[in-house]
């Protein structure tokens, strides 16, 4: 036991240095201990202004839509790939992972080239006498970019739980008279819930804070949480309020994840009892 513990030292050192210490500093700034005049809640009070609440709500909404779209696109794909035999499966899976080897910013720029007014898609449309469309600099473009960017992070965890689930459960369900639809909803879907939860966490959390893609594909006319926080640090120099925003965001995300996890645990228990 003692021996094993020693192996965790690097990780403990790492997390103290790069997780716990920065979080503590952030909290100290948020409560005015650092850079302020003693302990205060003013930074948190500032948050309750219409402009900030609106930006916050917009960020959550954008992240929620993006996560939902990712889930809807990924699940069938992950399901399909997991049912294929060895070689095909590996090829398809690799195809999904390969784009993540490329820089995300670069991939976003290529979407700009595709969607621009005189871009590839519009050129193609006009070639066939169709009207040019405004594809870039709107919410649609933002969602395309975000979903494209985060898709592998949703697909991979779902895929890996699906592939680990013994197929024998589904067979048993069918043998007992359930049709394929019932089997899917009663057996496959609940068993893949941990993968879905992980996927949601991996997509939702970064997309709440995302600001590069909305800036590039949405035309930078809106501010989301990530940019608002950056604005506090780099434009206003208000580290206290910037930290408070980050703390609020962390708490909200943790709360949401807690409820999702809880729901997942409950639903699994329920399934087991049946």
């Amino acid at each position: 036991m003692q021996f094993k513990k020693r192996f965790s030292y690097p990780y403990i050192a790492w997390s103290v240095l790069f997780v716990i210490a920065p979080l503590t500093i952030m909290l100290l700034y948020a409560f005015g201990v650092l850079g302020g005049e003693g302990i205060t809640l003013d930074n948190f009070k500032t948050f309750f202004q219409p402009a900030y609440l609106k930006i916050f709500a917009k960020s959550l909404l954008m992240a929620a839509i993006c996560t939902a779209l990712c889930l809807v696109v990924s699940y069938p794909a992950a399901y399909y790939i997991s049912r294929l035999n060895g070689r095909k499966r590996n090829i398809l899976f690799t195809l999904i992972i390969v784009p993540t080897w490329m820089n995300a910013l670069l991939r976003t720029y290529s979407w700009m080239t595709l969607l621009a007014k005189n871009g590839i898609i519009n050129n193609f449309l006009t070639l066939f006498g169709l009207a040019q469309m405004n594809l870039l600099y709107n919410n649609g473009a933002v969602f395309i970019g975000m979903v494209y960017n985060y898709l592998p992070f949703m697909l991979y965890p779902i895929y890996s739980t699906l592939i680990k689930t013994p197929r024998i459960y589904e067979k048993a369900s069918m043998d007992l008279g359930a049709n394929r639809l019932t089997t899917f909803f009663k057996i496959t879907l609940p068993l893949s819930a941990p993968g879905i939860i992980t996927g949601i966490a991996m997509v939702f959390i970064p997309s709440v804070c995302m600001f590069v893609i909305p800036d590039l594909l949405g035309g930078a006319q809106q501010m989301y949480m990530g940019k608002l926080i950056q604005h506090q640090f780099f434009q206003k120099g208000d580290w206290g309020f910037g930290s408070a925003l980050a703390v609020i965001l962390t708490i909200v995300i943790l709360t949401i994840m807690y409820f999702i996890n809880k729901y997942d645990a409950d639903s699994l228990k329920g399934e087991n009892m049946q």
Binding site: P50, A51, Y52, K54, I55, K58, A116, K117, N118, N134, L136, Y137, G219, A220, Q221, Q222, M223, K227, L228, H231, F233, F234, Q235, K236, G237, W239
Partner: protein, 347 residues
């Protein structure tokens, strides 16, 4: 245990000596806007002065300020715009220049020296300068229409308008259109400008900085607020584009170069400033980015050889210099701008 310590010691000695080898040359840390010094110039400087130049870039004056204020920055040479220079001088971040060490100062445009933000050039030298105006597509917008900022609120151009995305510069457009100073500290005037910008939002295609000129070149949009240097570059790439300075007034900006108070190598930094003012280096630099040089010899030579150098975008006339307003440091009132900006961005 002793063995371990010995090993660690040996390793650290090796590393120290390695890094000592690498730093036997003097190093100059330069912090600048993106696309503002041609990298070739840094190479030339390295060779001529047998030193190393570490070149880093920032996106906005505010970013520069925060870096200086919060980091134990090692930067020697920085390039603040005039309003940020005022603030940096006020807060003691920049060092006084020894003008005897910069003989090439005689090459600089006299009108740009001894300005109100730095009388006697105690702290800074002008680097690039120019205006912020409208870059427009002549096929869509007429010269007449482009003579007022109001064109940016024209419903006819809905979805074809590009707005500059930078706190002070964005508000400057609205404030000027309303007939106010771009340095107003009247909260009512600022609120009016904010309201005007909120009204404009549905009409704009996108907000941005450097990308706007490229978008106009690609004819993605019809009109945009653009820095003069970017406008020159854009007009050279697309003949349909033209540049105008609206009659309500515009921003005349002067970016400066100066040495930080914390610089540990002020002599080399002076050499760098002097190097940048040299005719051949100024020429190389202005040809790379098409921003207006502060070097009078370069301007005169370009004016006689290059057609584009005769445009108001590249070479503002004397009247243009006189009539432009510059952005000033507003002290704490700038927070009011920042808050208005956040409200604007929440729409």
């Amino acid at each position: 245990m002793k063995k371990k310590i010995a090993v660690i010691l040996i390793i650290s000695i090796i590393f120290c000596s390695l890094s000592a080898c690498a730093s036997s040359k003097q190093t100059l840390y330069v912090y600048n806007f993106g696309n503002y010094v041609d990298p070739v110039i840094n190479d030339m400087f390295e060779e001529e002065f047998n030193c190393r130049v570490v070149y880093e870039t920032y996106d906005s004056n505010e970013e520069l300020y925060m870096k200086l204020k919060n980091g134990n920055s090692t930067y020697d040479v920085i390039f603040p715009s005039e309003f940020m220079l005022e603030r940096l001088i006020e807060e003691g971040f920049v060092a006084e220049l020894d003008l005897d060490k910069i003989p090439n100062i005689t090459n600089l445009v006299p009108e740009l020296l001894n300005r109100d933000f730095d009388p006697g050039n105690k702290y800074s030298l002008p680097y690039y300068w120019g205006t912020i105006g409208l870059l427009y597509n002549k096929n869509v917008v007429s010269e007449e229409e482009a003579s007022t900022w109001g064109i940016l609120w024209d419903e006819r151009l809905s979805g074809q308008i590009l707005m500059y995305d930078s706190l002070r510069d964005t508000f400057a457009v609205a404030l000027k259109y309303l007939g106010y100073s771009m340095n107003t500290t009247d909260i009512n005037q600022l609120n009016e400008a904010e309201q005007l910008l909120i009204e404009q939002k549905p009409l704009t295609l996108a907000w941005g900085c450097d990308v706007l000129a490229d978008m106009l070149v690609a004819e993605e949009a019809a009109i945009g607020v653009v820095f003069s240097g970017d406008a020159v570059n854009a007009m050279m790439q697309n003949d349909n584009l033209a540049y105008s300075l609206p009659k309500e007034g515009y921003n005349l900006w002067i970016d400066t170069v100066c040495i930080t108070e914390s610089s540990s190598n002020k002599d080399l930094a002076h050499e760098y400033l002097n190097f940048l003012c040299r005719d051949d280096i100024s020429m190389l630099n202005t040809l790379s980015y098409k921003y207006t040089s502060a070097n009078i010899n370069v301007l005169n030579e370009l004016k006689s050889t290059q057609e584009w150098a005769n445009t108001i975008a590249y070479y503002p006339t004397y009247e243009i210099i006189q009539n432009g307003e510059r952005v000033k440091h507003l002290g704490d009132f700038v927070d009011k701008y920042a808050e208005a900006w956040e409200r604007l961005m929440s729409y």
